[in-house]
């Protein structure tokens, strides 16, 4: 009895989710496209930061991204614990991957 109730709940939820996906089709498509672009940019930035400490302009030059965008991603990655700030270099700070730091330790 309980199993059949749970099955019915699962079925109705699946149905509702299917309907929700249909309703939000355009938003999901746009968000997915943005995420894919972001993913590529993050991978390029991480690749640079994996090679040791880098400043924002150095990463920007190596990746071809705008420095402002590099800083935005680095700030976000730092917030979520994937990047750490390193030494100061002139007027800029160096950053590196947190994973790289733990490997070095």
């Amino acid at each position: 009895m309980r199993d059949s109730t749970m099955d019915n709940n699962d079925k109705s939820k699946k149905q509702a989710m299917k309907q929700l996906r249909a309703e939000r089709k355009e938003m999901i498509k746009a968000a997915s496209a943005r995420m894919k672009i972001q993913k590529k940019k993050i991978e390029a930035i991480k690749e640079q930061l994996n090679n040791g400490e880098r400043t924002i302009p150095e990463v920007a030059e190596a990746t071809g991204l705008e420095p402002a965008e590099v800083l935005w991603f680095v700030a976000a990655l730092k917030k979520y614990g994937e990047v750490v700030e390193g030494e100061k270099d002139g007027s800029f700070f160096r950053y590196q991957l947190a994973a790289g730091l733990s490997r070095a330790e």
């Binding site: 989710m17 924002i56 800083l71 700030a75 700070f93």
Partner: protein, 435 residues
């Protein structure tokens, strides 16, 4: 929230510092209070600041206890992420039609662990950090938000299911719907606060297109302990600025912007930020271009004199325009009003605009309360009873009635609570007399 109609003694619209203070003052007198807040967290503008003038108290340190007191008060019920659709006067009170927007997260199940946020693959510019960093498509608004409950932003959600899968309490609910309910109260306090004129509004100052021209609220985030970079850097390239300029009256006392009045607090917050910058960047030059310095409050003039003694440059001038300089610098073109006068220019690494304060909410179409020519809620007795509106039983508190600093907002919130308490007491005694 199973019930569709709830009854309270007082309804406070807005959960910023003025609304919280008014609610606490009423609740401590045993009145039952509802706070309706549009944002996902209470705290208003004040919780988003770094430090406050002239004491340089940490804004979080003094706002969070107020937020927590309200959240834990047995006589206060807080409704966040809600919009007031209509406020109607009834016989002996008011009825507010409220719609709670869906968070797509069960408020009762969410424990604010942020595992969903870490798992979500979509990055979104975070307005809580002036857009300088990112949050995810599902996120807890900020570190000391109350309630500590996640919100899902459907416009950036791919419905990938990762947040639902990782949530330890099964709180994510993609199918959540808006909830409509009504609040009945005998009295109402409007504490809807202020907005800031948009950076894009001023053609002469680059319409937001010149890199390294930011708003004072964005600078608050750069200076805050939990800011986007955890230090002050230029948003265009991550450089630590050597020279920072403040442009005063960038959105106030300016008829071309539709804000002819003085916003009252910009001089003081610019001086405060300049002081904080002197601490964060001891070698940096900080210049404040001003028309007049209005240091009107208790301890404010001394604060201004202290800033001058610290070496902050005050240049009496009207800045005509800003242009993009070399290597991310910003050129400030101004007419000096000092000894020799004349039109001149200077280069700075970072420029901060002290923008104007405008009302954050227009009651037109929502309730029978009128506004003054500046758009702020009209006080019918501005001298003797500044919290009275033109509707009996509705009071106004804080910056909803006009630009105000925190001290005045809190004082006025107390006055609004006193007026509301007096109104409730008279109303209740009349009812008892009739009975």
């Amino acid at each position: 929230m199973a019930e569709n109609k709830m009854t309270f003694d007082a309804l406070v619209v807005g959960g910023g510092i003025a609304g919280l203070q008014a609610a606490l003052d009423l609740a401590d007198q045993e009145f039952k209070v509802a706070i309706v807040e549009r944002d996902a967290s209470i705290g208003g503008k004040m919780i988003r600041l770094s430090k406050v003038f002239p004491t340089l108290d940490c804004a979080s340190c003094i706002t969070t206890p107020k937020m927590a007191s309200a959240a834990h008060h047995e006589n206060i019920t807080i409704f966040t992420y809600c919009e007031m659709k209509r406020l109607q006067k009834l016989a002996g009170g008011f009825s507010a039609s409220i719609q709670q927007k869906p968070r797509f997260v069960d408020e009762l199940k969410c424990i604010g662990c942020r595992q969903c946020e870490y798992e979500c693959p979509v990055y979104v510019a975070d307005p809580e950090q002036g857009g300088f960093s990112a949050r995810k498509a599902i996120f807890v608004p900020f570190s000391n938000a109350i309630p500590q409950v996640a919100v899902l932003d459907v416009e950036n959600c791919m419905l990938c299911g990762k947040c639902e899968k990782v949530c330890p309490t099964k709180a994510v609910d993609y199918l959540q719907q808006p909830k409509d309910f009504s609040i009945e109260a005998k009295t109402v306090i409007l504490a809807t606060g202020i907005g800031i004129t948009p950076l894009e509004n001023k053609v002469q100052y680059g319409e937001g297109k010149i890199p390294n021209v930011i708003t004072a609220l964005q600078m608050e985030r750069l200076l805050a302990p939990h800011g986007p970079y955890n230090r002050v850097l230029r948003p265009a390239d991550g450089m630590e600025p050597d020279s920072i300029a403040y442009i005063q009256c960038a959105g106030s006392r300016d008829k071309s912007m539709g804000v002819p009045y003085c916003s009252r607090v910009c001089c003081m917050y610019a001086i405060k930020q300049a002081m904080l910058l002197s601490g964060a960047l001891p070698l940096a030059d900080v210049t404040i271009y001003y028309m007049d310095i209005r240091a009107f409050g208790k301890g404010y003039e001394q604060f201004y004199q202290n800033a001058k003694a610290m070496g902050i440059q005050f240049v009496k001038a009207k800045v005509a325009r800003l242009t993009e300089g070399e290597n991310g610098a910003v050129t400030v073109h101004y007419e000096s009003q000092e000894a020799d006068g004349g039109v001149t220019s200077a280069e700075h690494d970072l420029v901060v605009l002290s923008l104007g304060m405008v009302p954050d909410w227009n009651p037109a179409g929502y309730c029978e309360v009128s506004t003054a020519s500046d758009g702020f809620i009209r006080s019918v007795k501005p001298k003797l009873a500044p919290t009275l509106t033109d509707t009996e039983g509705i009071f106004v508190a804080g910056a909803a009635a006009g630009p105000k600093d925190i001290v005045d907002s809190i004082a006025e919130a107390g006055a609004a609570a006193m007026s509301a308490a007096e109104y409730l007491t008279v109303l209740n005694s009349r009812r008892r007399a009739v009975a």
